[in-house]
Every structure is written in structure tokens, then in C-alpha cells.
Amino acid sequence: MSFAFLLVALVASTNPCRVRLVLPERRQAVVLGALIALAVAGGVAAVGGAVLDALDITPETFRLAAAVVLALEGARALVLARPAREPELHGLGAALVPVAFPLLLTPGVVMLTLTAGGDDDVALAVGALVVAFALVLLTTLIRRGARADALLAAGGRLLGAAEIAVGVALAVQSVHDV
């Protein structure tokens, strides 16, 4: 997978616009949560090849599973543009729940990093994740309000559609790969 593809896929799966609607307002918790998510996702990518080996799945086949997850996740974002607020741990614990999990470490992000790991593209995946999570951090600069929320919801829908497209592209790639 190319860096550009991974970047689009991970940004779509992270969906900064949609996530912003339910992010805690404490910026410190968001930054810490993004770092935790990056470390975990990087770790997942690093062991991706070994995990797929253990599951007896070739990376080419696993792409199909990732494609299914991305398409479903994208459809959810398209239909439910405003996610329900997640329960929060107190204080900086919010970095762990809900920021790192479940907001940033989405099923799509985990599948994509596993796929990239299986393809030995760990560095590319980590690089793309840095950009995707940085975009999430940037959205915290947006002041919430009715107008901003409506725009964020529209952006979330757009990224949901992009995630579906990424899923389809990945499925096609899985069919074409040997």
C-alpha cells in the first residue's frame, strides 16, 4: 500500500470531523489519548505480520476483511453523522477512555494497521497515523457551536463516504493481488 492510500484510509477511518463532536474538551487528555493510540496502533502494525501468520491468513486475503470493516464503518459514519457521547474516565483517564479507545483506535484503524504490518509497511502506517491523529488534534481548535457542529457532521459524512470508497478499493486490490 502506498503512503497516500494509507493516509486517506486512516484519516477516513479516524474521521476527525465526526470524532470532534464527542471529544472531551480537555485538550491535554486528547493529546495524551492520541499518543496512547499511536503507540498501540504502531505496536499492532509492528506485530501485524506475525498476527496474520498465526491466524494462517495471507496479507492479500486479510485486505478483504479490512475492506469489509472499512465499508461498514464508513456506512455507519454516513448514516449516523453525530455519534453518541461515550462514557469518560475522570481526569486524564479520559485519554484512555474514550479518546484512545474507542474514538481513535477504531476497528478500521486496527484493521488497516494490521494490514500494513502484514505488508511490511509499518513505517508508512505510523507516518500516516501521525498525520491522522494530528488532524484530530487540530479539530480541537474548532470552537463548538450549532454552525460548527453542522459542518463537522457534514465533514464526518464526507469522510464516511471516503471510507466506503477506500473499502471498495481495498476489496478490489484483494481480488487483483496474487
Partner: protein, 387 residues
């Protein structure tokens, strides 16, 4: 908790429905040779009067099929000649030569061409194409040129079926004495392509390169659209042909097509490796491939592996092609009925060396395709161990 439970269920669903384990038993030169010997034994024991071979057998009903198919007859000859050429197996050669009697009794001559067709039947592209391929293989195995005129006659039939756009029509009607318009042969097109490519090597200077190149371009660029395939048609015969044409005979469209073909054969290999004869894999992946299915995928992957080794434009595919080939060949070896299993069948000699479908049926091409596929796999195993 609910969130985590949903994720866990989702992961389980993915595992069961989308990515069950790909099971790839090991294939070694020894077990591949053993499987080849057993498969050829089944075909050789099938020699029947009149130049025929045993067509099929159902072990559940203990019934020998009375059907026959002349294209598959030519396929059996092809596989046995291949084995004779590769290993010098005299029994295989004798069994292949036995099939010539039926061939010479079922030739249709018209103008400058000859087709392999039973009396009263229309001439079909596949039967003549595969017979031509088998006879070229015979030439390689024996050096005997006595069938060269028949090879040329068959190739002229294929050429007569070729249209201006390079495609080849699948049937010639005895009634109208013309090629039937808009009717194509599923495998005949690839067989015609390989025939032209083989003849261009066997008898250079006779002009077979041009129809080969025209047909190759059609197959690479238009066949799937014209003949109605949504995905690239997994055509192992075209894979053989591409390997035969080699780097010098392939333009960029053909190379792009070779990639697509490798992709679809690889997908078939991966999906097949996830199938099982029972349990959830049976539910979500369907019946495991027949012997013919396993064999055709193996033949196609091996041919494209040879091409990828010869052509730097496809070199990036070599390792994956090898992995898929080993997997499917390993599954073929594992699923063949060995002599001990055969003892439980009503007629052990019709079960031994065969690949049966779930409903207990096998037919000549279920043995022939794996035979050819495993022969080609041996070449890959030998080449890789020599690296």
C-alpha cells in the same frame, strides 16, 4: 462492555465468514511425484477398446459413467504425453498413443483444415485446440513427425475460426458449413492461443506468430468484455500461452493481462485454501474445488510463475505465485485418494489416485489437470531448490 462484546463478535464473524484460515499442506518433490504416479495410473488403467479411456466413476453408486467428451479425451492424451516427455514414462506414452486410434476415427476435413469432431457433431474449437496441443506435446515426447500434418490441419481450423478482431469463434456448423457467429468457447480461446504460440516455436516461418499475437491482444484487452466475464476469466490455457509467447512476444497489454490473470488465479487459490469438507468453512466457502479445479489453478499459477521468472516486468509476482502454487498443489496432493483409502471403495482401482467431488464422483479431467499441475509444480520446486 457492550462495545467490547460487539467488537469481539464482529471479529469472530470476520474470522468465520471472511478470513478463515488458509490451510496449505506441504508439497514436496517426493509427495508430488507420488501423486503424479497415482493420477497417471488411474488414466493408464482406463484404457478401453476403440482408443477410448474411462470417462468417470461414482463410488457411492459404484457406477462407471457411460458419458464421453472428446475435448477431455484430448486432455488425457496431453497429460500423458507431458508425463512421457518430462519423465520418459513408457506406460504413459503407450496409454497416450492408444488415444490416437479414437482421434483418427473422428476427424472432420473441410477444405484446407481438419477438426476433431465426432460424426454428425459440429466442430468445436476446444477439442481441436487441445488435440493440437496434445500432438505438439507428443512431438516433444517422441520426436516423431508423423502427426505434423494433422497438427497443421487442426491449427488451420483454429485460424479459420479467427475473426478480424482477433477473437476465435467456438463452433463450426456442419449444417451451414460456417462458423457460428457470436458463439465463443470458454476454454477454446486460450487453447487456440496456446496452439498458435506452440506452432510458432515448432515450425517457425509458417506464419503462426501473427494469429497468436492478434489473439493474445484480443484476450488481453477485449475478451472479458466481449464474452461477458465480470472479473478476469481464470483461464489457465491463456497462462500456458503467455508463458509460451515469452517476454519477446508480449506487449504491455499482455503483461497487464498476465498480472490480472495471476490475481484471479491467486484469489481462487486463496479462497480454495479456506474451504473445507465440513463445518463452517463448508457453509461459507462452499464445496472444495474438484480435482479439475485444483489442477487448473495449479497449471495456471505454474505457467505464470515461469513467465514471471523469464520476464522482469512480472518479477515482483514470482514469490507470491510460488506460494499460491505450493498451497494449491499441497491441497491437491492431500486430497487425492491413496491406495489405502481406495481399499474401502467398491472398485479400488477406480478410486485409487483419483480426486472425488463431495457426491463421490470423479472423471478423467479430475485426474488429468492435477497431473499436469503437479508436473509443473515439480519444475518450480526443482528450480527454487537450485537457487
Amino acid at each position: 462492555m457492550i462495545y467490547i462484546a460487539v467488537l469481539a463478535l464482529g471479529a469472530l464473524g470476520l474470522r468465520v465468514m471472511v478470513v478463515p484460515a488458509e490451510v496449505c499442506p506441504a508439497v514436496t518433490p517426493a509427495n508430488a511425484r507420488g501423486a503424479i504416479a497415482e493420477a497417471s495410473g488411474w488414466l493408464e488403467r482406463g484404457v478401453r477398446p476403440g482408443g477410448l479411456y474411462t470417462y468417470g466413476y461414482n463410488r457411492k453408486d459404484d457406477a462407471v459413467s457411460q458419458d464421453y467428451n472428446i475435448t477431455r479425451h484430448a486432455g488425457v492424451m496431453f497429460g500423458l504425453y507431458q508425463l512421457a516427455e518430462e519423465t520418459g514414462d513408457e506406460k504413459a506414452l503407450a496409454a497416450a498413443e492408444h488415444g490416437l486410434m479414437f482421434v483418427h476415427a473422428n476427424l472432420l476435413r473441410n477444405g484446407g483444415w481438419t477438426a476433431f469432431a465426432e460424426p454428425g457433431q459440429d466442430a468445436r474449437l476446444g477439442a481441436s485446440g487441445l488435440l493440437a496441443i496434445a500432438l505438439v506435446q507428443r512431438r516433444f515426447a517422441t520426436g516423431d513427425e508423423s502427426e505434423d500434418d494433422l497438427i497443421r490441419g487442426l491449427a488451420h481450423f483454429l485460424a479459420a475460426q479467427q475473426q478480424a478482431d482477433g477473437s476465435v469463434l467456438g463452433r463450426w456448423s456442419r449444417e451451414t458449413e460456417r462458423a457460428v457467429p457470436d458463439e465463443y468457447a470458454k476454454f477454446g480461446t486460450g487453447q487456440a492461443l496456446w496452439t498458435f504460440a506452440l506452432l510458432d516455436k515448432l515450425v517457425p516461418g509458417e506464419g503462426w506468430g501473427q494469429p497468436a499475437r492478434r489473439l493474445a491482444r484480443y484476450v488481453a484487452t477485449r475478451r472479458d468484455d466481449v464474452e461477458g466475464y465480470v472479473l478476469t476469466f481464470p483461464d489457465h490455457w491463456s497462462a500456458y500461452a503467455l508463458a509460451e509467447l515469452g517476454p519477446d512476444g508480449l506487449g504491455e497489454p499482455e503483461i497487464a493481462y498476465a498480472r490480472e490473470l495471476a490475481g484471479i488465479l491467486g484469489l481462487n487459490s486463496r479462497l480454495e485454501s479456506q474451504s473445507g469438507q465440513g463445518g463452517l468453512n463448508r457453509v461459507f466457502r462452499g464445496e472444495p474445488a474438484s480435482g479439475a479445479g485444483l489442477g487448473t489453478v495449479t497449471e495456471g499459477l505454474a505457467a505464470l510463475w515461469r513467465l514471471s521468472v523469464a520476464d522482469p516486468r512480472l518479477a515482483d509476482l514470482t514469490d507470491n505465485l510460488s506460494a499460491r502454487l505450493r498451497c494449491t498443489a499441497g491441497r491437491a496432493v492431500e486430497r487425492q485418494i491413496d491406495p489405502f483409502e481406495a481399499e474401502n471403495a467398491p472398485r479400488p482401482l477406480l478410486a485409487r489416485g483419483a480426486w472425488f467431488t463431495e457426491d463421490g464422483y470423479t472423471q478423467m479431467d479430475h485426474q488429468r489437470h492435477p497431473l499436469s499441475g503437479l508436473l509443473a509444480t515439480l519444475e518450480v520446486l526443482d528450480a527454487e531448490s537450485a537457487r
